[in-house]
């Protein structure tokens, strides 16, 4: 019953790397950065209504926040000249403020000059440092290195190091609408939106994109990742631009959005993690960060404004879910989630992904022991969340062709209406969440942790979540037969949902229930020091860590399955 996975490597859709949009962008980097800086500047001017007083206030707020950040939260990646740059800004602002010879117009011009310096600096900072040679090297290294590790671990014997029996694609299965995304990538611009559970996701997605034969996508990676040298190398090689979450000021956010929008208009395929950061609770993201998503809609509208009405100007949204048995950072993530939502006081632990050594150790574990990952590629949609056909035409719910341009018309003309586009962004966000749930692929480990947690919850119905998680683990035990019956109930419902196209399930869920349970318990959070689920001596189900069990259980949140209990 095993399903066929995509195992062959696809031919590249654009063979010559000089034609890759991301390479073209790298070639024109300087002009592009300048364009972004200028556009961001005029956006900020627009937002401040060209009023020198408001502009001054924004500049001063930005200066204040940046000074504070440099003092309180410095990072290794921060450029050395930061302090001096902001001191210069401070001096300039002081000069303008005190210079009584300036009339209103001149003063405004002077402020605008300062603004220009800031957006230029930000644009330069955000822009990616993509180098095609690095990209190729990284891709080879990842594939080759992983394959070696894999074969060394699985194939016995002295020649195992050179065996090619197992490839990375045995570990990481790609399913879903792969042909469609490849095809549309040659015709229009793709914005891929994956779920986000682990820091490994960006590397993983980068690799998937190359397996599918697509040119690299650009994407916004948290600047914190660039603190770690191994990641910094990967990120640059994958075409990442930098997103600094410490900078919340207007000028930075506008520059960032402009960068993303312009890159999409340039034809660069992009990748957003719409959840913003990794899912802390282990649930599929339900509330998306809409900032960057809105740039896809803006870029689409701008293309229509520029008369690009055919498929070459069309932006396609492709949701992707990444399904794991095991999330390395789970213990930290769930603790952050619980302390953010509840009363629990957790002591802070070190980030498990804090250094290159730990990551390498994890990678080795990952490849030497079995823990599969699957990546599901969803159906492509237009920026309003309508499915598109093979030619990229948007279809309404009845399958009638519609023109995405119509969404941006009033009185027959394409108009800019930010409030309208804000609502469209909300709509798109909702559609992406819906699609995530549809293409989400249930693993045995999700099933067993969901069932175990729900049974424990049911047995302690008087406790709230936080008391439940504080239950002493040694007192928890679920008789195997009861557990198995509940698993069967939930699995039946999952298959019912699958038949309705509301969820997907991994092929290993077609085995017998005993096998599924064994597989699930073996795999769920397998590398954690404390296991979310174990079988005790009597063969009953027990847990070593309730918070982790809760984390893995959350993967099946949002399907109404808890009503079965």
């Amino acid at each position: 019953m095993e399903e066929k996975y995509i195992k062959h490597r696809y031919d590249p859709i654009i063979p010559s790397k000089n034609e890759w949009p991301v390479v073209k962008l790298a070639r024109e980097r300087r002009e592009f950065v300048k364009k972004v800086a200028d556009l961001a500047e005029s956006r900020v001017l627009g937002l401040t209504g060209k009023n020198p007083e408001i502009l001054k206030e924004e500049l001063e707020t930005t200066l204040y926040r940046e000074k504070l950040r440099i003092k309180q939260n410095p990072w290794a990646v921060d450029p050395k000249d930061e302090d001096s740059f902001w001191n210069e800004v401070k001096t300039s602002l002081l000069q303008i403020n005190t210079d009584t010879a300036l009339d209103k117009g001149k003063r405004f011009q002077a402020y605008q000059g300062v603004l220009h310096r800031i957006t230029s600096r930000y644009a330069e900072e955000i822009a990616s440092n993509f180098k095609a040679s690095h990209y190729k090297f990284t891709r080879r290294m990842v594939t080759y290195g992983f394959a070696r590790l894999l074969n060394a671990a699985r194939v016995k014997g002295i020649k195992s190091i050179f065996s090619t029996q197992y490839t990375l694609q045995d570990k990481i299965q790609i399913t879903g609408q792969t042909d469609q995304i490849r095809d549309l990538a040659t015709k229009g611009t793709i914005v891929m939106v994956p779920t986000h559970f682990s820091n490994l996701d960006s590397v993983l997605i980068g690799w998937i994109i190359s397996v599918l034969g697509m040119p690299p996508f650009i994407y916004g990676a948290g600047l914190n990742l660039f603190n770690i040298s191994i990641f910094a190398y990967f990120m640059n090689a994958l075409g990442a631009y930098k997103v600094d979450r410490r900078k919340k000021n207007l000028m930075y956010l506008e520059t960032l959005k402009t960068y993303s929008k312009e890159a999409i208009q340039f034809g660069c395929h992009s990748l957003f993690f719409p959840g913003g950061t990794r899912s802390r609770s282990g649930m599929i993201e339900s509330r998306l960060k809409l900032g960057l998503l809105s740039t896809a809609i803006e870029a689409q509208r701008a293309n229509f404004q520029n008369g690009l009405n055919d498929i070459s100007g069309k932006v396609f949204i492709v949701p992707v879910t990444i399904n794991y048995h095991f999330v390395l950072e789970a213990p930290i993530l769930i603790q952050e989630h619980l302390s953010a939502t509840g009363q629990e006081r957790y002591y802070k632990e070190n980030d498990e992904f804090s250094n290159s050594y730990k990551i390498s150790k994890f990678l080795f574990k990952f490849f030497t022991k079995g823990s599969d990952i699957s990546v599901s590629v969803g159906r492509a949609m237009d920026v309003l969340g309508n499915y598109v056909d093979a030619e990229g035409n948007s279809l309404d719910k009845r399958g009638r062709k519609i023109d995405t341009r119509d969404y941006f018309l009033s009185d027959g003309k394409v108009t800019i209406d930010h409030q309208r586009e804000e609502e469209y962004t909300n709509m798109l966000g909702k559609r992406i969440v819906e699609e995530f749930h549809i293409i989400n692929r249930v693993f045995s480990s999700h099933l067993v942790s969901f069932v175990a947690f729900e049974i424990i919850k049911q047995k302690n119905s008087k406790l709230d979540l936080f008391d439940l998680i504080r239950l002493p683990e040694e007192e928890i035990s679920i008789p195997y037969q009861e557990f198995k019956a509940a698993c069967e109930l939930v699995l039946a419902r999952i298959f019912e949902l699958k038949a309705q196209g509301k969820i997907d399930a991994a092929p290993h869920l077609k085995r017998t229930m005993d096998e599924i349970i064994a597989h699930g318990i073996d795999n769920v959070g397998m590398y954690h020091a404390k296991h979310p689920l174990v079988r005790d001596k009597a063969g009953d189900i027990a847990t070593e860590d309730m918070s982790l069990l809760y984390f893995y259980h959350n993967r099946l949140h949002g399907y109404g399955l808890e009503k079965l209990f």
């Binding site: 309003l384 023109d403 119509d406 969404y407 009185d411 409030q419 309208r420």
Partner: protein, 352 residues
């Protein structure tokens, strides 16, 4: 698609020529070219030749049509003014001709059901929120139009056609829809407010019909103004709780579409919902009343739906519950009144 037309050559469409539809069409016709849609050929002919329909005058510039595709082609902005019972069908008829550039504003104060095949309110008994649709949700579900708004407020058709001063609320998530509505309807005698909480505004208009029936019943029993004040105030509290449970905000109930419309409808002998309550109190049965009414009293259907929703939402709504018993379970009006007077309301205001 002929999109190049500027708005000057585009008309404003009104779907439905009941009393409210006719009043709105006439108000729109003061500023714009208006096209109305009716299903029956003879109705269309009557409007086009005599500019009247069952005693209601139509502005002579208004053209009528039976063709949904023509209406959708000639108009970018459509007002849907049809009763909730026929709303879904009308929207489905229009759906194939609607495109994402259309702006739709509706004026229907009722609810629709979102049930599976073969299911009805009789078979499911209880309703979840997802099984109830407001009219804007019907439009969003059935068509590709997204720029949707609603029109609600104390707008008794008879008074509107006389040109008495009045106001309405246009609610939409889209500012452009509110601004369009204001541009088209605003006049010296008609004020137009905006609200972004479309669900709350729709629900205010819907839920006030329940209280209007109760108010008619009090009037029919001749119980006076103290009783009416009591009802309106308790009715408002009930509306707040129901609206919150269904996804509206408290503020909208406090506004023109909520309290404003509630006060008007609870005092108006012209209101169909009020009339239903009044005649019930005079001893007629629901069937007798329905047999002699030519337009729908939305409140009756609303009572059924909301009563089925209360059961799943875990909230109490004593006025709705007792009205449901009177309308569908043969409780007498005086027994219902007794039940309400014994009900342990203890806190005056418990929602702000």
């Amino acid at each position: 698609m002929a999109l190049k037309n500027s708005s000057k050559s585009k008309k404003i469409g009104v779907v439905g020529v009941g009393s409210f539809g006719a009043a709105i069409a006439n108000m729109l016709a003061e500023k714009s070219e208006v096209m109305v849609y009716a299903r029956k050929e003879e109705v269309v002919a009557e409007i086009n030749t005599f500019h009247t329909l069952s005693g209601r005058e139509f502005n002579p510039t208004i053209r009528a049509t039976t063709d949904p595709s023509g209406l959708c082609r000639d108009c970018d902005i459509l007002f849907f003014m049809v009763p909730s019972s026929g709303f879904l069908e009308v929207v489905r008829n229009f759906a194939p001709f609607l495109y994402p550039y259309h702006v739709i504003i509706h004026g229907t104060k009722g609810l629709a059901l979102n049930l599976g095949k073969g299911e009805s309110l009789d078979t499911v008994q209880k309703l979840k929120r997802s099984q109830i649709l407001t009219m804007s949700e019907v439009i969003l579900q059935e068509t590709v139009a997204v720029r949707v708004g609603c029109l609600a407020g104390p707008n008794i058709s008879k008074e509107l056609s006389l040109g008495h001063p009045a106001a309405t609320v246009i609610a939409s998530k889209y500012n452009e829809v509110i601004l369009e509505g204001q541009r088209l309807l605003r006049s010296e005698r008609f004020q137009v407010y905006g609200n972004s909480d479309i669900i709350g505004v729709e629900l205010s208009g819907v839920l006030k019909n329940i209280i209007a029936i109760a108010s008619g019943a009090l009037a029919g029993l001749g119980l006076g103004e103290n009783a009416k004040g009591l009802l309106i105030s308790r009715g408002m509290v009930e509306m707040v709780h129901l609206s919150k449970a269904l996804g509206g905000s408290v503020q909208s109930v406090m506004g023109l579409a909520g309290v404003g419309d509630l006060v008007t409808t609870c005092n108006s002998v012209d209101s169909r919902n009020f009339t239903v309550g009044f005649r019930l109190a005079k001893g007629e049965t629901l069937d007798q009343i329905l047999a002699t009414m030519d337009e729908v009293a939305e409140g009756i259907n609303t009572v059924r739906i909301v009563d089925a929703f209360i059961k799943t939402a875990g909230i109490r709504a004593p006025i709705t519950e007792n009205l449901h018993r009177v309308l569908f379970e043969d409780l007498s009006i005086s027994e219902a009144l007794q039940a309400l007077m014994k009900y342990p309301f203890s806190v005056d205001v418990d929602f702000v």
